[in-house]
């Protein structure tokens, strides 16, 4: 499982894929590197490089050293550094013993978002190693090079970061479901229950397709946090082997219990004729997004159902097909303002030259709608009502409402 250190050093592809000479000490002359929208670094409390999203960690060792010094310097005065704000660039530090995670972003995200992304990365690492083991390693050897244990995990982290930049599920803390009619979903569920009922110690069965949840069946006493689901989604997406075969992968879900030994997750593809057809159909058919006909002024929206932590979005159409990141950022900003820890808001309507966004937080749901920039506010409000009605009608189809238990 663990490749020897030599192998890592001989094969630069394992550690990273950025050309070798571009990231050296002269970062100041290296525009490519400085222009990256979002850097992520992971280092040990002792300053040992573990991961850099761009550039080779070994060549950036000095930079990791600086970060460690800053963190420990502030710690020495009994404080803890959290973020640095410099014009267009935001630096966020997450000190999670025994690791230090740093994000440097020019993408206009907020501190909260970056911190949560860093937590995801941290959880990704602990999902492979478990926190207990991680702590033990550093207790024994402060200077341990964790990269030895994380071969292959880099790719997961890379994928996780890319994924979180284009997916609303992360900041919403929810998962997206594959739209299916209630009868098809019930058939699938009962098929799974029938097949899995006899397997001992099976805690969850998750069926997903193209990152959309089809079915989630759980043991009665357990439930699964969306953050953990995201890690599973990420694992499935990033691992080629899982896509093509049935396999076992040990995985520790941090939100579930970060200290227990890995839960084994069985990833399995469902091969039952009639249901598969329905799934394929739903995957291929462009879903009945509500942006057609009389709702031309709605460009895109997100609807999160709070009780199930699931959300629905229509497929992304113009003008955002090429600039999905921009759209996600618009949502992220609105979400951030709505959920500001000290001054939360119920409703936001914001308009600029590119678009208008309405964000609304209620007890049962959160709704975010992106409109044409010149939309009339009264019209926007009337759209909200109509959209909610439509969603109510489609609820059974677009959400996985009653999760059966084993």
């Amino acid at each position: 499982m663990i490749p020897p250190q030599e192998l890592l050093e001989e094969n630069p592809n394992i550690t990273n894929y950025i050309d070798e000479d571009s990231a050296d000490n002269n970062l100041k002359d290296n525009e490519d590197w400085t222009r990256k929208k979002k850097h992520v670094f992971i280092l040990s409390s002792a300053g040992k490089p573990i991961y850099s999203r761009y550039g080779n960690e070994d060549k950036l060792a000095w930079l990791f050293g600086v970060m460690q010094t800053l963190v420990s310097f502030v710690q020495s005065s009994g404080d803890c550094i959290k973020s640095i704000h410099a014009a267009n660039t935001l630096f966020v530090f997450l000190v999670k013993k025994p690791l230090i995670l740093v994000a440097v972003s020019k993408a206009q995200d907020g501190v909260q978002q970056l911190t949560s992304e860093l937590s995801y990365v941290f959880n990704q690492i602990t999902s492979i190693l478990t926190l207990t083991r991680l702590n033990k390693i550093y207790e024994q050897r402060q200077n341990y090079d964790l990269r030895r244990l994380l071969a292959g995990v880099e790719r997961l982290i890379d994928h996780l970061l890319d994924y979180s930049e284009t997916e609303p599920s992360f900041f919403l803390g929810a998962v997206e479901c594959l739209p299916l009619s209630l009868s098809v979903r019930d058939t699938i569920n009962s098929a799974i229950v029938a097949a899995c009922n006899k397997i001992k110690n099976l805690v969850f069965v998750i069926l997903l397709a193209k990152n959309k949840l089809i079915s989630l069946i759980r043991m009665k006493k357990y439930c699964l946090h969306p953050a953990d689901l995201h890690l599973i989604f990420n694992l499935v997406q990033a691992s080629e082997s899982l896509k093509n075969s049935e396999s076992w992968t040990p995985l520790c879900l941090p939100r579930f219990d970060s200290s227990v030994k890995p839960n084994s997750i069985l990833l399995k593809k469902l091969r039952r004729g009639n249901c598969l057809e329905a799934i394929n159909e739903s995957l291929n058919v462009k879903d009945e997004s509500y942006t057609t006909a009389d709702f031309q002024e709605i460009r895109h929206y997100l609807y999160k159902c709070k009780s199930t932590a699931q959300f629905y979005q229509p497929s992304i159409g113009p003008p955002y097909t090429q600039t999905t990141e921009h759209l996600i950022n618009v949502y992220k900003r609105a979400h951030h303002k709505l959920h500001s820890t000290v001054r939360p808001l119920k409703l936001i309507f914001e308009r600029n030259s590119k678009e208008a966004i309405l964000a609304w937080d209620t007890k049962g749901f959160e709704l975010y709608i992106v409109f044409e920039p010149l939309i009339d506010t009264t019209k926007a409000i009337s759209f909200v009502g109509k959209l909610l009605n439509w969603i109510k009608k489609k609820e059974e189809r677009i959400f996985h409402l009653n999760a059966p238990t084993l």
Partner: protein
Amino acid sequence: MNNKTDVSLKNFFIFNSAFGAKEGEEAKKVLYYHPITDTTDVQIKNVGLVEGIIQFCENFKPSGDINSVHMEKTRQLYFQAEKDYWLVMTLNLPTVLNTKEGSQTTDYSEEDVQDNVYEAVLKQAYYMYRLFYGTFKSIKDVANLMMTLEIFYKTYLPLDKQTFLKVQCFINLLESTYPIIQHTAYLSGIEPDDMKFVYQYLIGTLLPANMETELQGGSMPRNSASPFTVLRNGRFITGPSNLKLAKTIGKVPKMFLFSGGKQEEYHLVVYRALSASVFNRLNVRLFKELDAFISPKLVTIASDIAEYCSKQVITPSNLPESAPRFIYFNKLNLAYKSTVHLDNKQTGNIACTKESLRLMADIKSTNSTLGSYGETIVKTMNDYWRK
């Protein structure tokens, strides 16, 4: 019941990163440091950390200087006023003491300290200094510079600490104000940026509440046949108090104003007739002429203004509780209107909750992302609307 602390000033210092580059000479970087109770070692350490952070950030080529560093318990604000000259202010975050299941924890309310508000306070600290002494660079002798800094900030800081706690700083943030447009109307050649600080000085220090009493009280009987008898001829607030006897210009504060990037030295003369103030750059010979010249004209203009002001002042306090309150700020002419404040001094005495003010500061900070055109409507948890 004292389980809350408010935001407070931890330290404030000015240093030049180009000074004292040699090992062991780091203390030379520090030009001003508050409080003096911090030892030289602590001072060097703090400056060192700031320099470290600045250098670290430069690796990533941000589009501008660092504005702030957030820490769990403190907040640090940075302002590079002139090349290599940095002003740094560290604030202790407000805390709330929570007792949960017997054990006490201290929570730091990070979000209650808004960067843009305190950035404005920090910048004001510099521009106020520059108003009276000119740029840091213009004082060639370092010892001399340190002395002027000492003199200025020793008196400036305690005053500012008071304002920290008040919503005063919120006004700074919204930048300058409505009456200023009346002052500038008489003036030409003063840059708007300086104008703000001149105004701040006038309002904060020179013209205490008397403007208000004039406007609101009976000193201005509008239908009386002989209004303004007392104030008819106006008076100089700075400068000679009795014109007929004046031989020297008296104690006139010097001001350094900047136009077109050049520094010019002026004397500040505040001439006060009714509620309008005029400053001019003059010498003593002009005082008398000026008085004769300005006085009659100003009285008529000023009474108009006063009339207008009084309407303005009365409006907000008469508003019903639930009426919308607004702050309007026109960036082009620095005009500013507010129904948030109940009095004309526009410090404290606010009509809406602190929360709402903070919210407005939040909204202001998003303006940059909105671009030149935009609007924001939000609804708060207790159903207030803001636009």
